[in-house]
Amino acid sequence: MTTMPASPFVQVGVLTGRSLLGLRDPRMIVMNLLQPMIMLTLFSQVFRTMADAPGFPPGVEYLDYLMPAILVTTGAQAAVWAGGGLANDLKNGVLARFRTLPVTMVAVVAARSLFDLTRSALQLLTLLVAAMLLFGFHPPGGVLGSLGALVLALVVGTGLGAVFMALAAWVKNGELLQTIGMATMFPLMFASSAFVPVGNLPGWLRAVAVVNPLTYAVDAARGFALGAAAWPALAAALGVSSVLLVAGLGLAARGVRRP
């Protein structure tokens, strides 16, 4: 070869660019935005009486309470998409070619992760703007607090996304992955502080919610939005997400190397 292989950073850049070319598809954009909008509409209507329930923090609007959770759970669901995206990539012949090229597999999965981070950021930003303009979401934490919640949602989603990528790289089966994703994400979402205060959950659900990392992520995001930072929850959410990210990417890279 007449050239030295590109540095891992350039490789990540090139590979992220490759995925972003696929994002230009308008159908993808609509798909990405529709689901959280539906969630937001339904939840804000169905649960609007929640704020009067006992155990609910006094003086807090349900929308202000709900929106950070919608951000976090949407970010977490995007994690399943990240796994599905990698499973799809594994079916694409070009990935088999990467195995024969001086391309590091860490760059392949990191690029996938960056791509999903970009997609998720656009999705959450649209959701946030829509909530503000259409539903009158103006939490005490202000725009800055809302953005804090959004960034945290992205961090959590990226960490979880790495786990689903690792899963995808080893099971190599998109359908199975979606099933596993649904079967874990929905219980995790509902057995958490996302939609009702943990104290209002029935006993066994409460037990799950207390150890569920999503509870900490939601509590921390909610802390930002409500203008009362929840530092311990934030530390827990960031800690768990970083561990998941590093371990997930490492395992995913090893899995992708195996044909």
């Binding site: 070869m1 050239t3 292989p5 590109a6 012949g93 088999a96 195995r99 024969t100 090229l101 044909p259």
Partner: protein, 307 residues
């Protein structure tokens, strides 16, 4: 340039490579001939560092495929049995992406891609998605992609299987140009004797994960497969009789007579016998043995006759 020594690879209880040894000198083309399931793709996977061997050693461009995988990957190009391009990207985007991954600057990558599109006759289709390419175009793009960065060693896994005759010949010409102009070392697998014959300097026959013969195309055919002389004589009955009387196996089919011969000079014998018997020949063709003939002959002989 490529060196495999006693390479073993199993999938569960099935042994796909059962001690394969071969050598491809720099700048030459080795044709690896074998039926479906012979182990051709598995050997390529081992040599391109995709699969680790269970036993034996192999090196490519001087680097060990296990210990120096990264260096091997920097020296090779692969056109796989199934196309290894991104079907969601255009032909040009595929080439630019690979060039960028191999360390070319954005500008050099674009230029290199444009050159390859030009020399592979893909300029008109360059900006269409690869998924929309015809089979022949896809193979050409795949070959072009595998040549990005001018690898010293190129692996071609059944590059023309499933192609129509025109695309097949176009691809052969491309491979010939590559080896002639770039001096690239090539390992090519195929199920077609004709393809190996045309492109390869040497041929290795693989069967059930073992090398059953190797040599030049001429050696293989002369030693193993029998050619068939097909004639259209003025008097088929007389021709058959004369030839059988002189010890030839003879097959009749309408006006044609088939005579298997084991050496080139026997063609001359056939002609002389018929001339002496005053039989005129309206047509005479000599058909090369097929891969099947070679296999059948190999099955009847002890291992490694030609090695």
């Amino acid at each position: 340039m490529i060196h495999a020594e006693d390479v073993v690879k199993s999938f569960g209880t099935h042994t796909a490579l059962d001690g394969v040894t071969l050598r491809v000198p720099r700048g030459t083309v080795l044709g690896l001939l074998g039926h479906n399931g012979a182990g051709k793709t598995t050997l390529i996977n081992v040599l391109t560092t995709v699969l680790p061997p269970d036993g034996g050693t192999a090196s490519v461009a001087g680097f060990d495929v296990v210990a120096e995988g990264a260096q091997v990957r920097s020296s090779i190009g692969l056109t796989g049995q199934y196309t290894l391009v991104d079907e969601d990207l255009t032909g040009r985007q595929n080439l630019v992406m690979i060039a960028r991954l191999l360390g070319l600057s954005s500008r050099d990558a674009r230029r290199h891609a444009a050159e390859l599109l030009e020399s592979f006759g893909l300029v008109d289709a360059a900006d269409r998605k690869a998924g929309k390419f015809s089979g022949g175009m896809k193979r050409r793009l795949d070959l072009a992609v595998s040549l990005v960065g001018r690898p010293h060693v190129v692996f071609l896994d059944e590059p023309t299987t499933g192609l129509d005759p025109t695309s097949r010949i176009a691809l052969w010409e491309t491979v010939e140009r590559l080896t002639r102009e770039e001096g690239t070392t090539v390992l090519l697998t195929t199920q077609y004797m004709e393809e190996a014959d045309r492109l390869a300097d040497a041929i290795t026959v693989l069967s059930h994960g073992r090398v059953v013969a190797s040599g030049t195309a001429g050696e293989l055919k002369a030693g193993l497969g029998r050619r068939t002389v097909t004639i259209t004589p003025s008097d088929p009955a007389l021709a058959s009789e004369v030839l059988s009387r002189n010890g030839f196996e003879v097959g009749r089919e309408l006006d044609a007579v088939h005579v298997p011969v084991s050496a080139t000079r026997e063609v001359a014998v056939v002609v002389r016998l018929l001339t002496d018997a005053d039989v005129d020949l309206a047509a005479l063709t000599v058909t090369e043995p097929s891969l099947d003939d070679v296999y059948l002959a190999l099955a009847a002989q002890p291992r490694g006759v030609l090695q």
